[in-house]
């Protein structure tokens, strides 16, 4: 999962719906695994497959016109349950970037912790991108993490996006938070000593 991040250019898979919650990304009945593998095949399960397990033609993941490692979604993506399985499902399916105008907090962290880059863009950028993809399914987007720029390669609309410098460093170097925290155990122990009066 620790795939180093730099510049990604890809066509997109559009899902122009708001408030897509993590129960839709991966329904609860698929959370029973005790490892991180195999969630990709159940990504958006109940929108993607019918009761018999046959692909639902209208759903975008089943439409051969669309492909790529960038998911483009409506606002408030990943609301609801904290399940990191949602991020494992996105990563397992092959997504490396999610573009939206607004992300739910916990899910956004979960994406970052799984080396998926959540890119927050303006409503206008998102609308134009949806329109361009609708008109031409091969529309590509360039995501440049070092320079924090996202570019719609059809309209050439380009925007700066925000990311915590620490997280950017982690993504570009394949590091995670545990590496950092383990290196800082002495500071944690110092804090514990200073705050021992607070202990139960």
């Amino acid at each position: 999962m620790k795939q180093k991040f730099d510049i990604i250019i890809s066509s997109c898979i559009p899902l122009p719906l708001d408030n897509v919650d993590t129960d839709q990304i991966i329904p609860a009945r698929f959370l029973k695994s005790t490892d991180k593998n195999g969630f990709g095949q159940n990504l958006f399960r109940d929108w993607r497959f019918d009761k018999e397990g046959n692909p639902i033609k209208d759903f975008v993941l089943n439409n051969p016109l669309y492909s790529g490692c960038i998911l483009v979604v409506g606002k408030n993506f990943g609301s609801g349950s904290s399940r990191e399985h949602a991020a494992w499902a996105l990563a397992g399916y092959g997504f490396r970037v999610v573009i939206s105008s607004f992300f739910a907090d916990i899910h956004r962290n979960n994406e970052l912790n799984n080396f998926i880059l959540p890119v927050t863009v303006s409503e206008n950028f998102l609308e134009t991108l949806f329109k361009d993809i609708r008109e031409d399914s091969r529309t590509q987007v360039r995501v440049d993490l070092p320079n924090q720029r996202v570019t719609n390669m059809k309209s050439l609309q380009s925007e700066h996006f925000e990311i915590d410098p620490y997280k950017k460093h982690c993504l570009m170097n394949g590091l995670d938070d545990i590496d950092f925290l383990l290196q800082n155990k002495d500071k944690t122990e110092q804090w514990e000593k200073m705050n021992s009066s607070m202990e139960e």
Binding site: A28, K32, D177, M198
Partner: protein
Amino acid sequence: MNTLFDKIWDRHVVQKVTDGPEQLYIDRMYCHEVTSPQAFEGLRQRGLRCFRPEKIVCMPDHNIPTVGQDKPIEDAVSRCQVETLKRNAEEFGLTHYDMFSKDNGIIHVVGPETGLSLPGMTIVCGDSHTSTHGALGAVAFGIGTSEVEMVMASQCILQQKPKSMRITIDGCLGEGVSAKDVALFLMARLTTGGATGYFVEYAGQVVRDMSMESRLTLCNLSIEMGARGGLIAPDEKTFSYLKDRKHSPKGKEWTDAVEYWRTLKSDCDAVFDKEVRFDGSEIDPFVTYGTNPGMGISIGETIPLLEDVDRNEHDSFTKALDYMGLVPGRKMLGLKIDYVFLGACTNGRIEDFRAFASIVEGRKKSDGVTAWLVPGSWAVDRQIRDEGLDIILAKAGFEIRQPGCSACLAMNGDKVPAGKYAVSTSNRNFEGRQGPGARTILASPMTAAAAAVTGVITDPRTLLRGFQG
């Protein structure tokens, strides 16, 4: 100058990472069986032990069946997950309340009622409803599994400090209106993303007047507005709720603790990044009609018309109503329902069972309704029986099941069939949440009780004693 949230958060900052998040010390972590196995596996792969095992408490709750808990779980995959938690807890030396323990229940019910969660603490769990514990005056929030692994490895987590929001609810609530209605009202007003990026403090007369159980319900639902957590300044009610609980401090430690807890309130001149204010007397019993918790209306209102909905949300709105089998402009009152679920970390406490019983007492469950009444913990179950609520409920045709998360997310056998309407006291009405195709209507315990005895969505106030129609 400081908010209550600042006081607790800042005290737990070990260090600020340059140009980055803060390293926050965690006083208590809870683990359940669904979001922990990959974290334990991560520790094994790195050859690590838990840094502070005494601060971590594990209990299975999501997969637990609500009948026949004395027998092994039938579903092999659920059983494997529950047994994996037990094995992991043993291997890493953590406290574990297994399914057969009389201490078991839903983590967010057990934590407060045993005094494992206390004012001033930082509390996390791989579960978004960890916000519940904020009702005690703690900074409590849900995290992902990678973050669970971080806390196991270091007792710390790296987080950006959220912004602060105060929601003040003045006045007082009318009869038949509960904390659940307040929360559903707030979600409808603020939307499901309205508090994203914020940590909420609830204040005002309505909140001060609330019992601890009601406050737990209110804080539980903070995440449904997108907030990372919600908290309430601890007061005499909090202290008397916690006194003599199993894990609460005792003797001098108690006195010292209470002295510290009394300082846990926002300063008069504290500045919040955002403030909103509502009048409690304007809140009615609330129900949802759509597929996110923000799609709610006062029980007597009609579902919005398409033209009243933001143009950008037309597709989501139409998709939600199609799924629910409802149409714009119709009333929720009188809608025939099939299932009723009382329980979950939202409404599985003693007060919720009292409220439900107060409505169904002397009445009968409607024949067409299947009702699941699931206490949030064995302690709640014992209190139901001590108070004789089980007899009132049995006379009205309701049986009490065994504790667990149950139909809130249907990971056990308690699934609502496709196309059926369930009035549920849980926290989420997402598509498929209570089973594939299930149609969830979120409501308070009293509204659920009113639906259970009439078979249709009914204003619970019309069933209160002394109601003049």
